[in-house]
Symmetry: C2
Subunit: 357 residues, 2 copies
Amino acid sequence: MQEVEEKENKTDTSSAQGISPGAVNNFIRKKKKLLTPEEYIQGILAGDISLLSQAITLLESSLPSHQALAGEILAGCLPHAGGSIRVGITGVPGVGKSSFIESLGVYLTENEKKLAILAIDPSSQKSGGSILGDKTRMERLAASPNAFIRPSPTAGSLGGVASRTRETILLCEAAGYEVVFVETVGVGQSEVAVHSMVDFFLLLMLAGAGDEIQGMKRGIMEMADMILITKADGENREAAAKAVKEYESALHLFPLSASGWLPRVRTCSVVENKGITEAWDTLLEYMAFTRGNGYFDERRKQQARYWFFEALNEGLKQHFYGDEEIRKKIAETEKVVMERKADPYKAARDILQNYFC
Amino acid sequence: MQEVEEKENKTDTSSAQGISPGAVNNFIRKKKKLLTPEEYIQGILAGDISLLSQAITLLESSLPSHQALAGEILAGCLPHAGGSIRVGITGVPGVGKSSFIESLGVYLTENEKKLAILAIDPSSQKSGGSILGDKTRMERLAASPNAFIRPSPTAGSLGGVASRTRETILLCEAAGYEVVFVETVGVGQSEVAVHSMVDFFLLLMLAGAGDEIQGMKRGIMEMADMILITKADGENREAAAKAVKEYESALHLFPLSASGWLPRVRTCSVVENKGITEAWDTLLEYMAFTRGNGYFDERRKQQARYWFFEALNEGLKQHFYGDEEIRKKIAETEKVVMERKADPYKAARDILQNYFC
């Protein structure tokens, strides 16, 4: 029987709330025996957080044997997945994302909703940090047995990280989670990936935009189903109200999204506990609207299709760019191309010809 | 010696202005002999429109021998390319793109600028039509010996069409064209491709936006270096002035682009001949600005790099999706995935495993 290194399970400790004593013992042991696919599946379907965490760790592992096992677990869980409301939440650092998520999360879990919180942050490898890594930021929520918090995987390309996050959503759904938040940091490519795996995309913004949003990637605003102006309290209240008007008129200039939904702009304040439940109500309004006009189902289908082709293309690239010889050649050619000493297409064709022969 | 079918040269007739009698005879003949790479290169560098057109036709050809010849021509022209101002122009049908291009084009060519006008329109295969196909829309410009108008290639994927368009820009530059317009239709993916091959991206819009821009793809607005409200004349003048204010305040909400340039919003009227030369002056202002801060050079380099990797990835996909067996398998799996009866990743891995073994 194979074993999972303790190292790989470290991230599990952040979701240790509600774990059974047996599972805790497993964490204490240096190595842990792998179970059969059926055992994982049954455990996940029964809502066992420890087994869910382990299955996610298997998903994130680069060992082929772990991947194979994860694939079997996923296949068994798939018929039980799909039942959650998937929410993407983004905003630049400092916008108050963690405290908003905690506030909304506490509201939901206190109302007996099972909530899973995931994150995509491919940049975290560089900074060494990880969104959600700082558990103290969500102390109240982390204490709830209805909440499952899973930090961002700490290795791999965006494509890899995103595909694992999407599979993690499916496992969480099979484990009975009714709402899944996928958090991103609002400054990179990952928003597009998240937008392609959620039902609703929420953008948190600060009033008095200008400098604060300079760090945000262009294009994110147009993906939002709701823009929520945070920290709308105290002296900031007026600026927040003004920001609402500005964003509303800006959004009117955008082409309508395929859902037919006109993105809403609202304010909230975590310290005054205002606008949090209202934000949730707006989300529910969106869900009713898109379920009513068929967009919800169609989008889920298109997303599955999208990820199928993403996985194919990603796999093709991995095989190609993973080749030592190819990588060396590309590094050399890249410079020549940038100095305009070779045509990019001709250079690419030459490399490909070598690869396929 | 190989021959080019007359069929493939049909598009050349749209750029027949300024053609030498010998070249015209070549067009009349049913088949035409191919020249040596050196002959094409020397002809293009001497500004021979007929040889330039033929070389572009070779670029667009799917025959391997034509592609090889085109590659050699391109390699010879490359050291002489890069000298033009590359301008992407987009806007939904009805915005008055052709008449704007004609007006600005006449202004430029009368001021002794050599102007090439290309188009990207992958959708034209479906509709059967092609942007710029209707030569009568640009009669005055087409008559100028300083203008070279080349319709959109009429076959291939967006990736293929875009790569050929980019190579066509290089050939036009080698032939001495100082300004290159790349036109797109403003409703699809092609804007991203065009944005990645030009220095300046111009978006034409109608006043009274709303319905008119519904057809425009979300995200295009954020790529614009200038938004030009067309048809700002007669009863429309007031609405256009209002639109300028609206777009200006909307653009202020966007994160600043990497160039550090705040996109301008202006109006123009072709019938009153207003705002056309001013639009050009704004473009020159942008060029001076981005040349001054180093963005221009850096962007050109990054674009070359981008197209190198695009060509690699496109080539990988072509090889894969071109496989009959693979295509059949994908078509079957796609349905299963969309019905949520298989995990997209697992399904993709299975197909890839087959491909690489």
